[in-house]
Symmetry: C2
Subunit: 275 residues, 2 copies
């Protein structure tokens, strides 16, 4: 288990705001020319390999590199749960290698793609969209009172966001309980780390909800849907394509959540209002 | 000239909030279950080619596709000003093709890279860092009163952000005057569109300042530095590596700008405070 024993809450994984290497103290000047010292988040490259194939270099705060590697590949449709054999993280190189027993479908497809067009970059997005075909999420109910309770607890949880800012958070929740709270300088990394945790722990998805601080773009909606989670909630706003994909796969999409106000643009029939 | 005649201000390019196809009206429910209609920004894939080579698929709001293609390639160090011959945008395909007279250095390097490692993705970031070697920005002075004037004008300019939210803005400024205001669902696209405009217009960079609504990450700092602009200002926060790179190249970096408050973490000796 990845339980973080330093937190007094119910979280299984929570932000570790004292972790060495996630923030740095920097000295500068404020608007009146006075010297100020502030805490800023780290940001470093992590190159993700699938076996011998270099896939991508992500800019990350640097915690949970193994979960980020596994979750990124899973969310790209490059890795399925049963295929994972081992993950090796080489801190000094900034490299994480996700290993499977045999060559994956993705690697086979990639070597063909490189032969035909000379570049693999464009395949990534197409693969994510392909994964959505025929996907319908389970019709889970979402209690509006749970949404308010979650937002309140998450927003007051000690986090790098509250300490240093300039970072996004994604929280895996069940009912009114936040379970796994990941943060990263890239909002997609935060959700990928949650995906990596779910894959490693064999967690169920149909009974969960994902809360994110970032905008509800197509990529966030696609990742949430591919993870099998039927509800996505954010304090930020929407894009039209994000809404369209959510409606297509039956995802409940709630945005602009501030205090006890929000807007729901997909799957509103699953919301349960208080009597 | 790309002057937007519909604006009453001094902008050469300003957000076109009435443009067809940049936003969509969507109907949903609010927190009390009432039907609401809201305006959300569009988001669509644009695949960028350099001659015959597919480079990347960007998720973009969709305006200025030619400038996005040119600016992305320029900021990645794949295209220099003199090389550009023609840009073809195929709206129905979602493809923009940037053409040069001959094969570029990047394409030569890429074809070698693909032969040796089978994947081109990892080269992109390395190429951006390479471009910074030996770079020192001109020691331009930045008036604090100009910063306040810029922030006030930009924040009150009619924009898709004010209309629909969930979008980032980047503004090219000179002294106290905002010149080119680009918005996009991806903050990197907004700065790439500014870079594309500068390359097309042959604009000077050493006398400019870049204002962005997004965080001051390494990628934003690198793009600003590669564009030759000596000051980068944001209402958002910093990452440690962004600060480190800014100090290395002599970029003035101002963040957390709200009203008449800010923090400067690099190049503070270039700020001119009012008497």
């Amino acid at each position: 288990m990845a339980a973080n024993l330093s937190t007094s809450s119910n979280y299984l994984v929570a932000p570790d705001i004292e972790a060495v290497g996630l923030t740095r103290r920097v000295v500068g000047r404020d608007h009146e020319g006075r010297e100020v010292e502030m805490r800023v988040v780290e940001e470093r490259p992590l190159t993700i390999y699938l076996n011998r194939t270099e896939i991508v270099t992500a800019m990350t705060i640097g915690d949970h590199p193994e979960l980020l590697g596994v979750g990124f590949l899973a969310n790209q449709g490059m890795l399925r749960a049963g295929e994972l054999e081992r993950v090796d993280y080489h801190e000094e190189l900034g490299v994480v290698v996700v290993r499977t027993a045999g060559e994956t479908d993705y690697e086979a497809k990639l070597s063909k793609k490189v032969r035909t067009s000379g570049c693999a970059v464009g395949t990534v997005f197409g693969d994510m969209m392909e994964g959505l075909e025929g996907l319908t999420l389970p019709p889970a109910r979402v209690k509006v009172t749970d949404l308010y309770a979650l937002a309140k607890e998450i927003n007051t949880t000690p986090s790098l966001y509250l300490e240093a800012g300039a970072i996004h958070g994604t929280v895996l929740c069940e009912g009114a309980r936040p379970l796994v709270y990941m943060e990263d300088v890239g909002r997609h990394n935060a959700v990928d780390k949650v995906a990596g945790w779910m894959l490693r722990e064999g967690a169920t998805a149909g009974d969960k909800l994902l809360y994110t601080t970032g905008r509800l773009t197509s990529e966030m909606v696609i990742k949430c849907a591919l993870m099998g989670i039927p509800a996505l909630v954010s304090r930020s706003g929407f894009t039209a394509w994000g809404v369209e994909i959510a409606r297509q796969v039956g995802l409940t999409l709630v945005g602009r959540m501030r205090g006890e106000r929000f807007v729901c643009l997909s799957g509103e029939e699953r919301l349960e209002w208080p009597e």
